[in-house]
């Protein structure tokens, strides 16, 4: 399932849903929660704003989820990404994969967040005490 939303989400409720969707068949659920950090390149962060490309975002996330389900044997997957203004400590993103076996759940969860970070059209703008600046992307993996 894919959600792009302004509101916060409840990781516990989401995990519970992933469990109960597959009561008894999933033995392993791996989740990744991404949080707004309070420091970037040495500057204290006051606010973080997430911009995205409505329409393309949902398509890109659906492709990521589908590819994970093709590569690993999963009983459920979930990607939630927030947009709009956020504060340090706030949840930004939640990615989870449920599987009969833990290795597949780990690989799929990590694949989804790694791919989201390179392929999904989100952009972060952070506000420090002195300026607002767009976060620069890390160098592409070799």
């Amino acid at each position: 399932m894919i959600c792009v939303q302004t509101d916060d989400f409840d990781p516990g409720a989401e995990l519970e849903q992933l469990h109960s969707d597959n009561s008894g068949t999933a033995g392993a659920v791996v989740s990744f929660t991404g949080l707004v950090r309070d420091l970037n390149e040495g500057n204290a962060i006051r606010q973080m704003t997430l911009e995205h490309y409505p329409g393309m975002t949902e398509k890109a996330l659906a492709v990521i989820e589908q590819e994970a389900c093709e590569r690993w044997s999963l009983t459920a997957t979930l990607i939630i990404h927030r947009i709009g203004p956020l504060a340090p400590g706030d949840r930004i993103v939640f990615v989870a994969a449920a599987s009969a076996h833990r290795k597949e759940a780990f690989r799929a969860c990590e694949f989804m967040i790694d791919t989201l970070k390179t392929d999904a059209p989100f952009w972060k703008k952070e506000t420090t005490d002195s300026e607002a600046r767009w976060v620069s992307a890390p160098p592409a993996a070799g």
Binding site: Y53, M56, L116, K117, D119, P121, W134, V135, S136
Partner: protein, 83 residues
């Protein structure tokens, strides 16, 4: 008509989020379309000349030489930084 969209730092640099334009005669691919937009002024020339920009046509990332047709949605944006 094509729908043009600009995101994040590029949107701020250009001062435009989206626009609808008639595709001029002879503009049939991405390099031609980008070149035509770059003729607007130096801001556009420099901003759209950034080799790190990504381009999506109809909401899917495309290669730099991709054809463009009437009715397409074309978006330029810097490398993504979500997650």
């Amino acid at each position: 008509m094509v729908q043009l969209r600009y995101f994040a730092s590029l949107r701020e640099t250009l001062g435009v989020a989206d626009e609808q334009v008639d595709l001029p005669d002879g503009i049939a691919d991405l390099p031609a379309l980008t070149g035509w937009l770059q003729e607007r002024n130096d801001t556009w020339r420099t901003a759209l000349g950034d080799p790190h920009l990504h381009v999506a046509i109809n909401q899917a990332i495309v290669k730099p030489d991709c054809p463009v047709s009437d009715g397409d949605e074309v978006a330029w944006f810097p490398p993504v930084t979500g997650g």
